[in-house]
Symmetry: C2
Subunit: 359 residues, 2 copies
C-alpha cells in the first residue's frame, strides 16, 4: 500500500445549525455528541490507521482560530486555508497539489469534517478496501452508504458491474451519480437495488485525481499548477489569494465524478449520517424514556420527542412535543422538529438585518 | 374628604412568572408592558390623585434592593418591610398601624402591585367613590370588576342592595365573597347577575379596619398593637421580627371580608387583569398581524399566536404556534400557552434540585 493521506474538508458554514453554529464556529466544531467536536471525531477516526502527520485539513481563513484550537494534535503545516470557499473540487484540488509535492503516488482519502460515523473499525476496513482499488485500478473510489430508507435529502450513486471477487467488502464499478431524488424516485431506487447514498467520502491516488482535474477542469488545473509552483515561497499566500478568488466554484461530483470513467464504489455499512439539520442530530442522539435528547442544564415537564441543548444557561420546556430548543450564548432557537430546515431562514433574516452579533 | 393614603402590596413572589420573575425580582418589578414595571405603573396610577408622601409600600426584606431602585420617587420611610410574608391580612394590618399613628381617620386604598389596570381616570373616579362610602358609612369597600366572561381563575363578590342613588358609579352592599368557581358555577354567576370579580382592591378608614381586625382576628390585633407600640424606637425591628414571624398567615378576604357586616362594593369598569400567568400577559399584550406579542430581539418564522420575550439575547421561533418563550439572563422558558400554569412546577423542580442559580 502506498502512503495514505487523509484530507478532511472543514470549510463549511452550516447555516442550518444556527445557533449552535455561528460564522466563526460552524457545525464541524460543535460537540454535538459527547466531548469531541465532529471534526475531532473525524480526526480520531483516521488517526486509528494513519499517522497524524498524514492528516490534512482544508478550511477557511475565518475559521483559523477555532480550527487551531481543536487540532493541536496535528502539525500546523497540515492546516491548509482557502482564501474563500469554492466548493469541493477546488478544495480537493488544492490539497492534492500540496500532497503531490511530497508523494504523487500517495493515496488520498477525502472526508467531510461534519458527518456522524459510527463503527470506526468497519470504517477503517472500508477505507482500506477503497484504497486498494484506487491503487490497483488507478481509479477514483467513492464510499457508498447502504440506504436504510428512501431518503430524499441525499444524492445517490448507481452501481454497475460487481467487482467484489474474493474481497470481504462489496465493490462495484459506478454507473452514474444522481442528484437528490423526490420520494417516488427514491423509493424506486431502493426497490430496484444497486443504489447507494453519496457520502462525500472519496479515495484516489493523488496523481490520478490531478489527471482528472486536467482532463475535466483544465482552467482550474492550470490555476492550481500556478499556485503549486509557489508553494513554500514568500509570495505563496498572495498568489493563492489572487488566483483562488477567481476560480470557478464547483463540486467534485459535478466537475469530475459525473464525467470520469474510472469511478468505483465501495459499500459502506457503518452508521452514517450527514447531520444536515438539528432534526438529524435529534434522530441520531441518545434519548431518554420520553424520547427526549437532552444536553446541558434543563427542566423538562410534560414534553416528549424533543431535542433540548443548552450551552451555558438553563432551558425549561413545558407541555410541548416534537420541538428543538438550542441555546448558545446570546441566542436561542425554538423550532418545530419538522421545520428544522427553515433555520436557514433565521440566518438569512439576521444577515439581511445586519444583526451580526447573533451570527 | 379625609386624607387619602394608598397602600401598595408588593411582597408577592410570582413563581408562575419564572424566568422573568426570580426570587430577588418578582413579577411586580418586571417591565411586562412598556418602560415601567407593574409596581411603577401602580404608583403612577395613585400619584395622579394622591401625593407621593401618602403612598406606602409593603414588601419583603429580600426584595429591598429592587424595591428601592424602583421607588426613588417615594420617601424611603414609606417602604415597610415584612420580615416574612404572611398573606394580606397581617400585611394590611401592619400598614394600618403605621397609618393610625399619623391619622386614624385617614382613608386607605389597598392595591396589589402586580395587576394590569387601564384607564387611570376611571380608576381614580372609582377609588374616590369608594373612599366616599368608606368615609360616610364607616365601611370596608371593595372594588368589584364587571366580569366580561365566566372566569374560573378569579374569586367573585356577590352584591345585595343597590345603594347607588345619585352617584355616577354603581355601588352596592355586599352579600358574600365566594372562592374561584368551576366553569358551570361561573356561568351561572354571569347569568344571574350581581356578581363581580374580586380585584383585591380595598378602601377603608384606618380606624374602621383596625376595629375589624380587633373583632375578627383578636390575636393578630394584639400582636400588631405590640409592634405599633415600638414604632420609631431602636427596638422596633427586633420586635417586629419576633412577633411577625409568629402571626397566622391569612388573607384579608378570609380573615375579615367574609365575616364583617359593613362591606360595600363599588363597580370597577376599567380594564383589569390580575396577570396570573404568562398566558394572561399574552392575552393583554399588543399583538402583530400574526397575533404574536413580541418584545426584545427576535426572529419569528412561520409561527403565530405566541408570546416571545427576550431580555438580553435573541430568540428565533420557527414553525410553532401557541407558545410562550421567555428568555431572562441565563434562563429560557419554552411553554405551550395552555400549560402556562405549570411554570410553577419548573420553579419547584429547580428548588428541589438546589439550582438556586436559576431561581
Amino acid at each position: 500500500m502506498k502512503k495514505l493521506y487523509s484530507l478532511i474538508m472543514a470549510g463549511g458554514s452550516g447555516t442550518r445549525f444556527w445557533p449552535g453554529s455561528k460564522a466563526a464556529k460552524p457545525k464541524q466544531y460543535l460537540n454535538l455528541f459527547g466531548s469531541e467536536s465532529l471534526l475531532q471525531s473525524t480526526i480520531s477516526r483516521f488517526a486509528k490507521f494513519t499517522s497524524n502527520d498524514n492528516i490534512y485539513i482544508v478550511s477557511g481563513k475565518n475559521q483559523a482560530k477555532v480550527l487551531e484550537e481543536q487540532t493541536t494534535m496535528l502539525p500546523k503545516s497540515n492546516l491548509i486555508y482557502e482564501p474563500v470557499g469554492k466548493n469541493t473540487l477546488p478544495c480537493i484540488g488544492l490539497a492534492a497539489m500540496f500532497a503531490e509535492k511530497e508523494n504523487p503516488d500517495g493515496i488520498m482519502v477525502v472526508s467531510p469534517a461534519d458527518h456522524l460515523i459510527e463503527n470506526d473499525e468497519l470504517f477503517k476496513d472500508t477505507v482500506l478496501a477503497a484504497s486498494k482499488i484506487a491503487d490497483k485500478r488507478d481509479g477514483i473510489v467513492t464510499i457508498g452508504i447502504t440506504p436504510t430508507y428512501p431518503a430524499t435529502g441525499y444524492g445517490y450513486v448507481q452501481t454497475a458491474e460487481d467487482i467484489t471477487g474474493s474481497e470481504k467488502i462489496r465493490q462495484y464499478k459506478v454507473e452514474q451519480f444522481v442528484e437528490k431524488p423526490d420520494e417516488t424516485t427514491a423509493k424506486s431506487y431502493l426497490a430496484k437495488g444497486g443504489f447507494f447514498w453519496n457520502s462525500g467520502l472519496f479515495v484516489f491516488k493523488v496523481s490520478v485525481f490531478i489527471d482528472a482535474v486536467k482532463e475535466f477542469a483544465p482552467q482550474l488545473y492550470s490555476d492550481l499548477r500556478k499556485i503549486q509552483a509557489e508553494l513554500g515561497m514568500p509570495t505563496f499566500e498572495n498568489t493563492l489569494d489572487t488566483i483562488y478568488r477567481a476560480v470557478e466554484s464547483i463540486s467534485v461530483d459535478y466537475g469530475i465524478m459525473e464525467h470520469a470513467r474510472n469511478i468505483y464504489l465501495v459499500e459502506g455499512n457503518f452508521v452514517w449520517n450527514d447531520l444536515g439539520s438539528w432534526e438529524s442530530v435529534y434522530l441520531t442522539s441518545k434519548k431518554d424514556e420520553n424520547q427526549n435528547a437532552v444536553s446541558g442544564e434543563s427542566v423538562i415537564i410534560d414534553s416528549k420527542n424533543s431535542y433540548v441543548s443548552s450551552d451555558s444557561g438553563l432551558i425549561a420546556l413545558v407541555g410541548l412535543d416534537d420541538v428543538i430548543v438550542v441555546q448558545d450564548g446570546n441566542t436561542t432557537l425554538v423550532c418545530k422538529r419538522d421545520k428544522a430546515e427553515e433555520v436557514k431562514k433565521v440566518v438569512d433574516n439576521l444577515k439581511s438585518n445586519y444583526k451580526s452579533q447573533f451570527l
